[in-house]
């Protein structure tokens, strides 16, 4: 099919009769994949891992939302039950529509999931009649009504002003968008279900009070609704509230006072608003990180830089946990796609099997890994030769190394948690308030070389006894949960320390206070009185302090130092950064640039890159230039762009054209001396005009009325 045409136009491609084989996910994965031979294995691993992560996060999200959702469910249940009571107070209040204002925070992309599970829960346990509407589909009252009716009845509702086919004609009489029809439908439904056979329905014990299940309407994004539409809808609903047990749920992203901004008193007096606050998104993120990243259950790991990118997108841009998880997914896919050795990124047994089947090419890849090279250099001469030449030996060595890596992960996280429990109580949080900050520090470099770590340790050495004991107990709990030899040993040691602390209590009670070192202090104090020099004074005071500390160490202080040295030793042995581990490249995804490019797109920079260095995208050797300049063979728009950078705010079009013609003539290889050089012919003129209009379309220039034959620049900077 040819699409060359004189004029611009649309071309219709009818699908060919032969149906092309639709590509599966795997085909996409293997396409362009690094080292195709084990791509299927990697694909399987990746899928499996992602499925596990996904189910885990879903479970997590359900758990997090449970509190709010449960209280919401309670409210709906209460609503349906109070309606049936006929005591004086509820009769007086009958005209109010019960409303739940659910404050969800500004991370709008996450809300879908919450509402999804909310409506599912409602349908399971309270009422089958749930409709959720979004602002963008309800521009007018008519459409809102239509959506509500559609979602509730599941039928097609026809709007009067929409031109539709003949078949719609018959439907129209049966369903009309008004709440009246909804009431009739509801009456029919409830009557049917109360008289109908209970066998098919859920036989819950609460069946009797479920005679009249409430009709719940969820407004997902209250802020975006047109206030007039909402007001009218509520007014109409209040007319029917006697016949129809209605209930609203407002999803609010900002603050509850928006309800007051949107609804006047006459409307809000029809509602009985109850406020619900969901978990804040930062807490949500913390739990997700806790479950997905700070655990050895998933072999796939993110390097510090990638984590940093993902977290900063979260904190700086969107607050969306869903996008964060998507970021992890991207990193996961990218890792398995681009790293052939990721076949080893799986559980221990599988990894062993995959390792045995590793091809020679892949073993060569292992040898090229920087971390492996470092490892080799440390080995004996003979061992080095063996590792570099004997494939079988290498496989065995790798097996051991992989085992070490697993162990490293198993020990890393509990120790990290220990350190966090200790450091998070300190004033001004030297090691960060959140555990993710500490994790980032540890990923970067040796944490114990960090200044903040030193100061944290100093502060810890000043902790009071009971504080320290509770902290250590919490540390012990952290260590206890892990099944690993080293951690068990550490746990036992910590328990012993704790026991010693307890003994101290009893011992202190028994032993009388030892005669203190007051004697020794008094003498320098006497000396002190003689001196008046400030420097000397300071010096003596410092000395006194030193001597006091060394002399007056109580048994508690000794024990405290011992405990902290123990913790310090734990940190030093287990919290080394992953880069120091051999074969870490198998599990760690470190290309932060890829993640950033995909998740935090910068359209303007890429346009500018394309215009200023076309080689970057076109990959044509002719276009290769030294930085800054544009070859004269570059596309017209690039030349025009380059020339316009040299101008001020207003650009004279004629000068621009002249300059353009000169550059293009040079590209055509014309003789500099000839008359033709730099002459503007029709073709060049047309090409120039096109380039200029393209630049205008991209938003770099615009026409101006300030000066004739000039255009205005819209960007700053340039040459």
């Amino acid at each position: 099919m040819s699409t060359s045409s004189v004029s611009k136009g649309c071309f219709v491609f009818k699908p060919t009769a032969k149906k092309r084989r639709s590509l599966t996910l795997e085909d996409y994965f293997t396409d362009g994949c690094e080292d195709a031979e084990n791509s299927d294995v990697r694909f399987q691993l990746c899928q499996h891992l992602w499925d596990r992560m996904k189910t885990d996060t879903e479970v997590l999200q359900d758990e997090l939302n449970r509190n709010v959702l449960d209280s919401l469910l309670d409210l709906t249940r209460k609503c349906s039950s109070t309606r049936q009571h006929s005591d004086w107070a509820s009769k007086m209040r009958a005209s109010e529509i019960p409303t739940a204002a659910l404050v969800l925070g500004v991370n709008v992309p996450d809300h879908d999931m919450t509402f999804q599970s909310l409506s599912e829960l409602l349908q399971q346990s309270v009422t089958p009649y749930v409709a959720s509407v979004q602002a963008k589909e309800c521009g007018t009252l008519k459409h809102l009504m239509k959506r509500v009716l559609e979602r509730l009845t599941g039928a097609v509702v026809v709007l009067d002003d929409e031109e539709e086919e003949e078949e719609a004609e018959q439907l129209h009489k049966s369903t009309h968008c008004s709440l009246g029809t909804l009431c009739d439908w509801y009456d029919a439904k409830t009557k049917k279900s109360s008289t109908g056979t209970p066998g098919k329905k859920r036989t819950s014990p609460t069946k009797d009070e479920q005679q009249q299940p409430p009709v719940v309407i969820i407004f997902k994004d209250l802020e975006a609704f047109n206030p007039r539409v909402l007001q009218n809808f509520i007014l109409i609903c209040s007319l029917y509230v006697q016949r129809l047990p209605l209930m609203f749920i407002f999803g609010i992203a900002t603050s509850p006072s928006t309800v007051q901004h949107m609804l006047p008193h006459s409307v809000s007096s029809l509602l009985c608003i109850q406020l619900f606050q969901s978990l804040s998104c930062t807490q949500h993120l913390a739990t997700v990180i806790d479950k997905l990243i700070l655990t050895h259950h998933f072999p796939f790991k993110l390097s510090g830089k990638v984590m940093q990118v993902l977290i900063s997108i979260f904190l700086y841009h969107d607050f969306s946990v869903r996008n964060f998880i998507k970021g992890i997914q991207l990193a996961l896919l990218e890792h398995f796609h681009s790293q052939p050795l990721s076949v080893l990124c799986c559980k221990k047994k599988e990894a062993r099997r995959n390792l045995m089947q590793l091809s020679h090419a892949n073993l060569e890849r292992v040898r090229k890994l920087p971390s492996f090279k470092r490892y080799v250099e440390k080995q004996e001469q003979q061992e080095q030769v063996n590792l570099l030449q004997d494939d079988g030996h290498l496989k065995e060595a790798c097996q051991k190394l992989m085992k070490d890596l697993h162990k490293y992960h198993k020990n890393y996280y509990p120790v990290l948690r220990c350190l966090h429990t200790l450091a998070s109580t300190l004033p001004r949080y030297p090691l960060g308030k959140q555990i993710r900050e500490l994790h980032l520090i540890c990923l970067e470099k040796n944490v114990w070389e960090n200044e903040d770590y030193q100061s944290a340790m100093k502060l810890l050495k000043m902790l009071a006894k009971d504080e320290l004991i509770t902290l250590l107990q919490r540390c012990a709990e952290n260590l206890q949960t892990v099944k690993s030899k080293k951690m068990n040993a550490a746990f036992v040691q910590l328990e012993e320390l704790l026991a010693k602390f307890k003994q101290l209590d009893t011992a202190a009670a028994a032993v009388e206070t030892v005669p203190t070192v007051v004697e020794s202090i008094t003498s320098p104090v006497k000396n002190l009185q003689k001196k008046t020099d400030l420097f000397q004074l300071q010096k003596t005071l410092l000395e006194m302090n030193e001597s006091l500390r060394s002399k007056k160490r109580s048994p508690f202080e000794v024990l405290r130092n011992e405990a902290l040295e123990f913790i310090d030793a734990l940190v030093r042995s287990h919290l080394s950064p992953p880069e120091s581990q051999t074969l870490n490249e198998v599990c760690y995804f470190s290309s932060s640039a890829t993640v950033r490019r995909h998740l935090n797109a910068t359209p303007r920079t890429s346009i500018q890159a394309a215009l200023s260095s076309p080689y970057y995208y076109i990959q044509n050797d002719n276009l290769k230039t030294e930085d800054g300049s544009v070859s004269s063979a570059a596309p017209d728009i690039c030349i025009a762009y380059k020339l316009h950078l040299e101008c001020g705010r207003l650009i004279n079009l004629y000068d621009w054209l002249e300059a353009y013609a000169t550059v293009v003539s040079a590209a055509e290889g014309k003789d500099q001396e000839s008359d033709e050089f730099g002459k503007v012919d029709e073709v060049k003129h047309a090409r120039f005009i096109r380039a200029v209009s393209e630049l205008e379309f991209l938003g770099f220039i615009k026409s101006t009325k300030q000066k004739t034959d000039h255009v205005a620049r819209l960007t700053w900077g340039g040459c």
């Binding site: 107070a89 109409i236 007096s269 969107d318 910068t602």
Partner: protein
């Protein structure tokens, strides 16, 4: 009790029931009855009834038509989003569903008249039919011919039919430019304090005596009458606070007759209700929970407007701050605030005549997108790449109604915005990012 309504043509018993159900509206009911005449007599084609909210318009109409068993259709104009729905409802309640199904899919007024006339042939009117239009002020937004046609519908369909329009605003605001048939205008005045007392006392609690409830209403009106005369609202307040009023009785501390002690008990409580419940800061359910709680805990429950804190992503905060600055500072002064070497410019030097008034009194001014971004880049302390998510944050701020887009949605080139948050809000936001916004505001220079 005032005398029972008298009108020829209606059953005495029915009239008595009407009188009973419409207290304090005897004059209006009587007037309406005499306008309506006897059932078979032709009545005035259209009657316009107006009066404030909760002055008994709909109630009186409803009771009259129902108790006297007159054929009628009551239609709320809010509900009728389209003409089709309106016509269908009218036909449905006057003639039944077969008539309604005769209407075409998108009926015009003449379709309606045709169907109506057709139905009339089958069932000619033996007595006056009534169409009551509630919230008639919405008819003004409907098609131009609808209101004039409804006013002389009797003539158009050639039937014994009266259209009654109920509205909260006066007829003067209705009159179309082209002129129309003038309806009879009837005003429902507000209830007086005595009337309110009488009406509210009617729904007394079954387990207490009527006198007791009436004394409660008396106290309630004493507190609230000065701020609120809306019957519905008072009714709501009465229902909410009654249990508190009865509390000392249930505890056996006072007797029903001891009004003074009861008053002393309830008065501070009602004063508190005036600040929260009346403004619907706190919903009735929460108010009830509050009553069950101890006094000291009750302070913890905050109204809707107390929750104003909004968590925002870091750059969104700065975008909002930039928007606020762009909205409240004149564009000329940007140089002074955001350029490093702006030189000393005194405020008086670049004051224009009309700028002497505070910008905060005038409200936010629109600003173009590029000014917003320019301010944003100079306000935010680190280098920010102009990524797509920065732009998407602007639009999400618009959906959150923290910014409003002034220009039309279709205008892609240089859209204009306004900042829609208050000074308190923005100062709270800027405090979280350690930005001293007052230093950058022209008004506080």
């Amino acid at each position: 009790m005032t005398s029972v309504l008298q009108h020829p043509g209606y059953d005495e018993e029915k009239l008595r029931r009407v009188t009973e159900q419409t207290p304090c509206r005897e004059a209006q009911t009587g007037l309406l009855l005499s306008l309506m005449g006897q059932p078979q007599q032709y009545s005035y084609p259209s009657i316009f009834v107006y009066g404030h909210r909760a002055s008994g318009k709909s109630h009186v109409m409803h009771v009259l038509l129902k108790e006297l068993e007159l054929p009628h259709a009551t239609i709320s104009c809010v509900e009728c989003v389209s003409k089709a729905l309106l016509f269908e409802k009218m036909l449905l309640s006057l003639f039944g569903c077969e008539a309604a199904s005769l209407l075409p899919r998108t009926p015009s007024l003449s379709d309606f008249v045709r169907v109506y006339r057709h139905q009339c042939l089958d069932s000619p009117a033996t007595q006056t039919r009534y169409i009551v239009m509630e919230k008639a002020e919405l008819l003004r937004d409907a098609d131009v011919n609808l209101l004039p046609a409804l006013l002389r519908l009797q003539e158009l369909v050639d039937d014994n039919l009266t259209v009654i329009l109920l509205s909260e605003i006066t007829w003067d605001k209705f009159r179309p430019n082209t002129g129309c048939y003038e309806p009879l205008v009837l005003h429902f005045p507000d209830y007086s304090k005595g009337d309110l007392q009488q009406i509210l006392s009617r729904d007394s609690h079954p387990s207490y005596s009527a006198d007791f409830y009436s004394s409660y209403i008396n106290i309630l009106l004493g507190v609230f009458y000065s701020v609120c005369r809306d019957l519905r609202e008072l009714h709501h307040l009465a229902a909410l606070n009654f249990s508190k009023f009865c509390e000392p009785l249930a505890e056996g501390k006072v007797k029903e007759s001891d009004t003074h002690k009861l008053w002393r008990n309830i008065e501070p409580h009602l004063k508190k209700a005036m600040q929260t419940v009346y403004l619907r800061e706190v919903s009735s359910l929460q108010w009830e929970q509050m009553q069950q709680m101890e006094e000291k805990e009750a302070g913890a429950l905050r109204g809707l407007s107390a929750h104003t804190h909004v968590e925002l992503p870091y750059y969104s905060k700065f975008l909002l701050i930039a928007a606020y600055l762009a909205s409240y500072n004149p564009a000329r002064t940007d140089k002074r605030f955001f350029l490093k070497h702006h030189g000393k410019i005194k405020k008086t030097n670049f004051l224009k005549k009309n700028e002497k008034t505070s910008n905060h009194l005038l409200g936010p001014k629109p600003f173009p997108l590029d000014r917003l971004l320019a301010v944003f880049y100079s306000v935010v302390d680190s280098r920010v790449a102009p990524s797509a998510s920065i732009f998407s944050q602007i639009s999400s701020l618009v959906t959150l109604q923290l910014l409003t887009q002034v220009s039309h949605d279709d205008q892609l080139d240089a859209p204009k915005y306004k900042c829609a948050v208050s000074l308190d809000f923005i100062s709270a936001i800027s405090r979280t990012v350690n930005f001293d916004i007052v230093k950058y505001l022209y008004d506080f220079l």
